[in-house]
């Protein structure tokens, strides 16, 4: 007589389930699914509250009117701009995208995908009561999340006004208006100080390259272009026309390079090491190696995180970094 304490063999389980021995893998799979589902339920970051939260209406950077909870407890951010704006305004996040690494305390948070491939399921699994997205690149996230009943607020950092507005907005949402206002003043002061210290009449270019050794220069409406304009540097590519894979940049032809009078050339290399840095490669590219700035060695690498990926409250850091380079060259 079989003891009821003994575990059923797989074959017995299969017979119970009415399947043949060939279904062995199927039953293991169904078991695994059960385990995963159970685990995901226990790992949910925020438990759903039973009471209706109070809400109020805000206008976000896309001009949308959004009903947000008055004391959000579980905010998920999907972009470094959103993450840094939130923390600078005195809030905390419960989940982030993989590119958000600042401030350091966010690195322990669960992730929901890369900025270009956010998983709405992963966001939903954290059960947030608010999601902060980036207005220029993440508009497509808004509808799916709202359909799940999650309010979405978009922030932006394409200009100084944007940054101020985003900080103020988020400060209002997390009920930390003083911290946000302080942050705004702080940033403004630092930028003003930098502007005072900036040299006169220096012309610059900001380059980014692609794998085919084509060079693109930052225009006025790009973030690096914005930073340069804040300290009065003359961006020689401010109105450049031409295609580019990066928004706000334009193709800089190698034939124009030798006659370019830029005093300083900044370079940004978005690829991680060990790929070679553009500042090192620029002197190898025909045409560019004849640029007076390149020949004089006035080529400096900028931090891609600060100047490209994490646009936002750290603009003051970016301004100071650029000023420092220009002043020491």
């Amino acid at each position: 007589m079989r003891s009821i304490l003994s575990l059923p063999t797989v074959r017995q389980m299969n017979r119970l389930l009415g399947k043949g021995s060939s279904a062995r893998p199927a039953s293991i799979v169904s078991l695994l699914l059960l385990v995963v589902l159970a685990a995901s339920l226990t790992l949910t970051a925020c438990s759903s509250s039973t009471s209706e939260p109070d809400t109020f209406t805000v206008i976000d950077l896309l001009g949308r009117s959004v009903q947000v909870p008055s004391q959000p407890t579980c905010i998920v951010t999907t972009h470094p701009t959103a993450t840094e704006t939130l923390y600078r305004a005195g809030g905390v996040a419960a989940g982030r995208d993989t590119a958000s690494k600042y401030p350091t305390e966010v690195q322990d948070l669960p992730t929901v995908g890369g900025s270009y491939s956010i998983s709405t399921e992963a966001v939903a699994a954290l059960n947030p009561d608010l999601v902060l997205v980036e207005a220029l690149t993440q508009v497509s996230l808004i509808s799916p999340l709202e359909e799940l009943g999650i309010p979405v607020v978009a922030v932006r950092a394409a200009s100084l006004e944007d940054i101020v507005q985003s900080l103020t907005l988020v400060g209002e949402i997390v009920d930390n208006d003083e911290t946000a206002a302080q942050a705004v003043t702080d940033i403004q002061n630092r930028i003003d100080a930098a502007e005072d210290n900036a040299p006169e009449g220096k012309s610059i270019l900001v380059f980014i390259g692609d794998a085919d050794r084509k060079i693109y220069a930052a225009k006025a409406q790009s973030y690096p272009g914005l930073v340069a304009a804040l300290i009065g540097l003359k961006n020689l590519a401010a109105d450049l026309q031409g295609p580019a894979p990066y928004p706000g940049f334009a193709l800089f032809s190698a034939e124009q390079a030798p006659s370019s009078e830029a005093d300083v050339v900044f370079t940004i290399t978005p690829y991680p090491a060990p790929a070679p840095r553009l500042s090192a490669v620029l002197s190898q590219i025909p045409g560019f190696k004849e640029m007076p700035a390149v020949k004089a060695g006035h080529v400096v690498e900028l931090d891609p995180v600060l100047f490209l990926q994490a646009q936002g409250p750290r603009i003051a850091d970016a301004v100071e970094a650029m000023l420092n380079i220009v002043n020491t060259l």
Binding site: A211, P243, P258, Y271, Q284, G287, K289
Partner: protein, 324 residues
Amino acid sequence: MRRVSLVMGALALITALGVLMGLAMGPVKLDVHQLVSAILSSDDHVAHVLVWDLRLPRVAAALLVGACLGVAGCLLQSSTRNPLGDPQLFGLGGGAAVVQALAMAGVIGIGAWGLFSLSVVASLIGAGIVLLFASRQGISPARLALIGVSLSALAAATATGILAEARIFSAQPLNFIGGSFANLGWQDVLPALPFLAVGLALAATVMGNLNALSLGDRVAANLGAEPGRTRAASIAAAGILGGVAVAVAGLVGFVGLLVPHLARLLVGHDFRKVLIVSIPLGAAVALYADQAARLLFMPSEVPAGLVTALLGAPLMIYVARRVL
């Protein structure tokens, strides 16, 4: 021989015209006077740099790569008795493409000479595989071409994978996958010359036997044409030339396919003549393809490989239908 001389003369003229076009035309236009002074003196520094450092190396690269590919195609078509013979199609350039990807990702940091040597070695591996299959009795041309295409696809996928892993993305299809002469300097072209010389020398040692090879290995062996050795040397030479071409400009496809067929139309079926003519003809084809690539949508550029594909793919379909 007179016909060959005539054809060579015409090709030289056409090529010279193409070179002129390549030096004078572009986003910054130079008239003849400016061009001549730019070449001869460095008074107008900008024009001088433009011509000597930007446009001339690019023209030289196109000529060199075109010649390599034309000869390689001719060698492959004659030694494997396959009208679809082409170094890219047969997977000879694949290994070199992987090496280029590794260099771009910063995984291997050797100088230009090392890079070229490694690319050639990698191509010779591909050549070895092709030789293995081509030497089998009774392998059909279609099967050999399929094996080569698979090798090429595998190599391109590997190269793309390496770049994706290194997070090196490009908004357009990568130039080096499409094949392009853009942004090439003298340091990209000069190391190729010795390899070109070696490849051509190797081809010259067996050039005389190629005609006999078309009669089948048994008859060729009986004539004293040493089919085994000839085929091995031909494919090795094609590997060297194909590898150098990829190391310079990426996967410029279809030139090796196109040029021998064109040459045959011009000078007949003697493979010795076809091979000689393939040198300037290949150079001219690549040069003009590059000019089209860079001037048609100025200041934007398309990869030269796109142009050669537009010309070569229909030809490939035509040949495949007729012969396979």
